[in-house]
């Protein structure tokens, strides 16, 4: 069993009920394939950085879970054939640092920990940085 994060973007045209149903069905697929859900982060509707299937917005959700590696193929196959899913990405967390980050993300998703944002600020302009020529 490995630790996985599955992020997906649902079509913005879905109703609130349809989104709830779709998220529940993704959860079922993970469980039916032998996975164990550790947390769900509901990011919600947000603007896409670029158009996907002519859509400019999408509903973002993230599942944290453990599952056998083989089952990921089936999960991804289902995501690929689903018309409600605009895009998805699966990430594995394996190294010591990654596992710690994963545990923290699960805690945040479950409301056991507050998200810490330690570096912020406006987007720099390229002119902000002088070139390092002599």
């Amino acid at each position: 069993m490995k630790n996985y994060e599955q992020i997906f973007i649902l079509k913005p045209s879905l109703s609130a009920d349809e989104i709830t149903t779709k998220i529940a069905s993704i959860k079922d697929v993970i469980i039916n394939n032998g996975g164990a859900i550790l947390g769900f982060k509901d990011i919600g509707m947000r603007r896409l950085a670029y158009q996907i299937d002519r859509q400019t917005r999408g509903y973002f959700g993230v599942f944290y879970f453990t599952i056998e590696t083989n089952a990921i193929l089936e999960l991804e196959r289902l995501f690929r054939v689903s018309e409600d899913v605009l895009k998805f990405m699966t990430i594995t967390y394996e190294s010591k640092i990654e596992l710690k980050a994963f545990a923290d993300m699960v805690d945040v998703a479950n409301g056991k920990k507050i998200e810490e944002k330690r570096i912020s600020g406006r987007l720099p302009r390229e002119e902000d940085y002088d070139d390092e020529r002599e």
Partner: protein, 84 residues
């Protein structure tokens, strides 16, 4: 050319903040490593160390894949698109 440098001292902000992992979903963690046009800033300009620059690069590539960060931005979009 003897141009005045605005950022004389370059240090890694991530080392300073003791960040050991950069989540691609947390845009506040890599905003300052992106240019106005959403290109990854070279570390000679941001001061990021090699280790953190690699983390930043991975995070931004993931964020681009899942449409949280644009791949390319033209002049028009620069003002239109915001990370928040």
């Amino acid at each position: 050319m003897a141009e005045k440098r605005k950022f004389k001292k370059r240090y890694c902000k991530y080392c300073e903040a003791k960040i050991d992992y950069i989540d691609y979903k947390d845009m506040n963690l890599y905003k300052h490593s992106l240019s106005e046009r959403y290109k990854i800033m070279p570390r000679r300009l941001t001061g990021n160390c090699k280790v953190h620059q690699d983390m930043v690069t991975d995070a931004i590539k993931r964020a681009r894949h899942i449409a949280l960060v644009p791949y390319i931005v033209d002049r028009k979009q620069v003002t239109q698109y915001s990370l928040d």
